[in-house]
């Protein structure tokens, strides 16, 4: 408006004005109770994630198995076979089957092995561990085979020695990533963090804009700076607040991961994921914050805010849902790849795909270019809406009016 009136007038203090607004946002926001509590909750969730993975992982790999009667002779071979199947067994000798069954029921034992070695019985509370059952079957079959071989006049030991050289040669057409599970865990953590951070910081921007409008302080502010400077300062300040929260949360996650020792991925992979998550947080933030600010400038009261902000929040939920439903089962999904290029989807999907190690460089570059271009366009459009709507108090301003007015 002013610019139009005096196109030649430049403002030598523009940057300082923007910084003053940003500093106020940062300063007042980090002191609020909601910021402190929100950050602590985020830290707790992110820190708990690797620890939970750690305990869940431990629980699934060790089972306590009781052996009773003749089955006690099977302890050693069953344990050996189980280990080759990645199940470690803690064996317990039990006096009689009845006592063993009681222990299974009480949860003291995960399973009980009874009966004869060539016809063992596996007692479990509900479902048998498939690996354990397979190990038991292998051992029992071996016993039966040994007996048959002996009856046919062959030495079971010799037969075993000559057959153990037979192996299947495996040719992988695609290299197997032994750390796929960890990558997925990392991708999910990044997706969750980005989703939560983008929603909360976007809401902060929307509320901040309406706060100035509803308190009418905006008119006083706009007598000292341009709408674009106010908007830029506000977005920058809240962005810095979000960045601080992000770094604190990600740092806590990093500490928890190394403390729990669940990561065997090289530390560069972890740092890379976090680095990309940070980049995409900033890109996503500017993208969504601009939309949020423009939407919020249309209303004058906090009560009316939900109506204009909800569609934007929906636009944030969609990519998150796509990310957590498609990518874990099918990281190479074409739909996921295409969506991860589209601005709006990319801030959550692309860092997840990068963490999964399935995003080629050209796709990363394309998504970066697209979101930067889209954000610039949004800044122009959103700035125009904001400039035209921010001083209009009262009823909700129609978006077409805000775009048309000068």
């Amino acid at each position: 408006m002013t610019e139009a009136q005096h196109p030649s007038s430049t403002d030598p203090r523009a940057l300082r004005s923007v910084w003053l607004v940003a500093r106020r946002e940062l300063d007042t926001r980090v002191r609020t109770r909601s910021f402190v509590i929100g950050t602590l909750v985020m830290i707790a969730i992110i820190a708990a994630y690797p620890l939970v993975m750690f305990f869940v992982g431990q629980g699934s790999t060790t089972s306590t198995v009781g052996f009773t009667g003749q089955a006690t002779t099977m302890v050693r071979p069953v344990t050996a076979v189980s280990e080759s199947l990645d199940v470690s067994i803690e064996d317990r000798l039990v006096d009689d089957p009845r006592a063993g069954k009681r222990m299974v029921r009480s949860g003291e034992l995960d399973a009980l092995v009874t009966g004869a070695p060539d016809a063992p019985e596996l007692v479990v509370e509900r479902d048998a561990n498939e690996e354990l059952r397979a190990a038991l079957e292998t051992v029992a079959r071996q016993r039966a085979l040994d007996a048959e071989l002996a009856r046919a006049g062959l030495d079971p030991g010799q037969v075993r020695a000559s057959t153990s050289d037979v192996h299947v040669r495996v040719t992988s057409l695609q290299p197997v990533d032994p750390q796929q599970a960890q990558r997925l865990g990392l991708a999910m953590a990044a997706g969750f963090l980005l989703y939560f951070m983008l929603i909360s910081s976007g809401q902060m921007v929307a509320q901040g804009v309406v706060e100035e409008k509803s308190s009418r302080v905006v008119e006083l502010l706009l007598s000292t700076l341009r709408p674009s400077q106010l908007l830029a300062g506000k977005v920058l300040g809240i962005g810095l607040t979000g960045l601080l929260q992000f770094v604190l949360t990600a740092g806590a996650g990093l500490v928890a991961v190394s403390a729990a020792g669940v990561m065997t991925l090289p530390s560069t992979a972890l740092a890379g994921t976090l680095g990309w998550a940070l980049v995409w947080f900033l890109l996503g933030f500017f993208f969504y914050a601009t939309i949020m600010a423009a939407a919020a400038s249309l209303v004058s009261r906090q009560e009316d805010l939900q109506g204009v902000v909800t569609p934007v929040v929906m636009a944030l939920i969609a990519p998150f849902l796509v990310g957590v439903t498609i990518l874990p089962n099918n990281p190479d999904s074409t739909v996921g790849a295409i969506l991860s290029l589209i601005p709006g989807f990319s801030p959550m999907l692309m860092p997840m795909r990068i963490a999964l190690g399935v995003a080629p460089v050209w796709q990363i570059a394309t998504s970066l270019v697209l979101i930067v271009v889209a954000t610039l366009g949004l800044l122009w459009l959103g700035g125009r809406i904001y400039r035209n709507a921010v001083l209009r108090t009262g009823a909700r301003v129609k978006i077409t009016e805000a775009l048309r007015a000068t």
């Binding site: 408006m1 002013t2 139009a4 009136q5 005096h6 007038s9 403002d11 030598p12 203090r13 004005s17 003053l20 607004v21 106020r24 007042t28 706060e211 100035e212 308190s215 009418r216 302080v217 905006v218 008119e219 006083l220 502010l221 706009l222 007598s223 000292t224 700076l225 341009r226 001083l391 108090t393 000068t406």
Partner: protein, 303 residues
């Protein structure tokens, strides 16, 4: 002190089919207090918003010291918007310091000025309280301090007296007077015409986006046809009819009210009055601003 004049030069503004301002023109000199009066919707707020750059004019220019007002110069204006507003959750002193910095002060200077104004307006005990927790009167004081914290070169205040209690009106008047005396042009709008008459050096009356009268209070009161009030107890009803250029307006509590045309001689009227017997009162009638305002507004709507 250089001659600092705020000039509003032929400003026009339309909203769709509605003309908000048409060639609005006036100027306020350094050390002069200008009262801006007019009914609601006449265009006072629009004029001030344009002067502050919050709104853009369709045409016309606002100048200070002969140069068009740019953003840098606008930061030197102290502004009190009609719709008062401060951050409700910010502490009083912090808020003032922030506004001071936005107006171009250094961080340190802004803090000092904030404390100075807080002390001066009697808010010392409240300096660290959130604005929303202050009483309405104290919020108004913070609002005034917000307009003054950066020691402005120009003051523009939209309805600064509305909602103030009598003590606060005195404080406000004194603060404006002091600013004025230090050489700052002061413009304010008000519906309290007695206040405007008492405080202002010059007054502008606005109607439907146009300035219909503009001058010192004395000039405005002296403008228009000369009116005489004459108390001649023994005179017949038509005692003044014979004098040239005199029109009788009526009789109010025994006093005859006469309107004189430009070439009429008031001494001739006096002579005619004395010819009827004793003259108890012979005075020139000067209307109060309230009356002028009412006339200006109604005359226009009749026309």
């Amino acid at each position: 002190m250089p001659e600092s004049v705020l000039e509003i030069d032929r400003i026009s503004k339309r909203y769709g089919n509605v003309t908000a301002l048409r060639d609005m023109t006036f100027s306020v000199r350094a050390g002069e207090m200008f009262g801006f009066v007019g009914s609601n919707g006449a265009g006072k707020t629009t004029t001030m918003r344009i002067a502050l750059g919050v709104l853009a004019a369709d045409s016309g220019e606002v100048r200070f010291d002969g140069a068009p007002l740019d953003l840098r110069m606008r930061r030197r204006i102290g502004y009190m918007p009609e719709e008062r507003g401060l951050y409700p959750k910010m502490r009083a002193a912090q808020q003032l310091a922030y506004l001071g910095e936005l107006h171009g002060m250094s961080r340190h200077g802004a803090r000092e000025a904030a404390d100075r104004w807080i002390d001066r307006l009697g808010l010392t005990e409240r300096r660290d309280e959130e604005v929303q927790k202050l009483s309405l009167g104290n919020q108004q004081r913070v609002q005034l301090a917000a307009a003054l914290v950066h020691e402005p070169d120009i003051l523009v205040l939209d309805e600064p007296f509305s909602g103030l209690d009598p003590v606060a009106v005195d404080v406000m008047s004194q603060v404006l007077r002091d600013a004025c005396d230090s050489g700052v042009p002061v413009v304010f709008s008000s519906h309290q015409l007695d206040l405007v008459q008492r405080l202002c050096d010059r007054v502008g009356i606005v109607r439907k986006g146009e300035m219909v009268a503009n001058g010192t209070v004395e000039e405005l009161r002296d403008s228009g046809p000369t009116t005489l009030l004459v108390d001649v107890p023994n005179a017949p009803a038509d005692w003044a009819e014979g004098t040239a250029g005199v029109r009788k307006l009526g009789v109010e509590s025994g006093r005859t009210r006469l309107e004189l045309s430009d070439d009429a001689d008031d001494q001739a009227v006096l002579a005619a009055a004395m010819a009827t017997g004793p003259v108890r009162e012979f005075a020139r009638y000067r209307p109060a601003l309230t009356e002028l305002f009412r006339n200006a507004v109604t005359e226009e709507s009749a026309a």
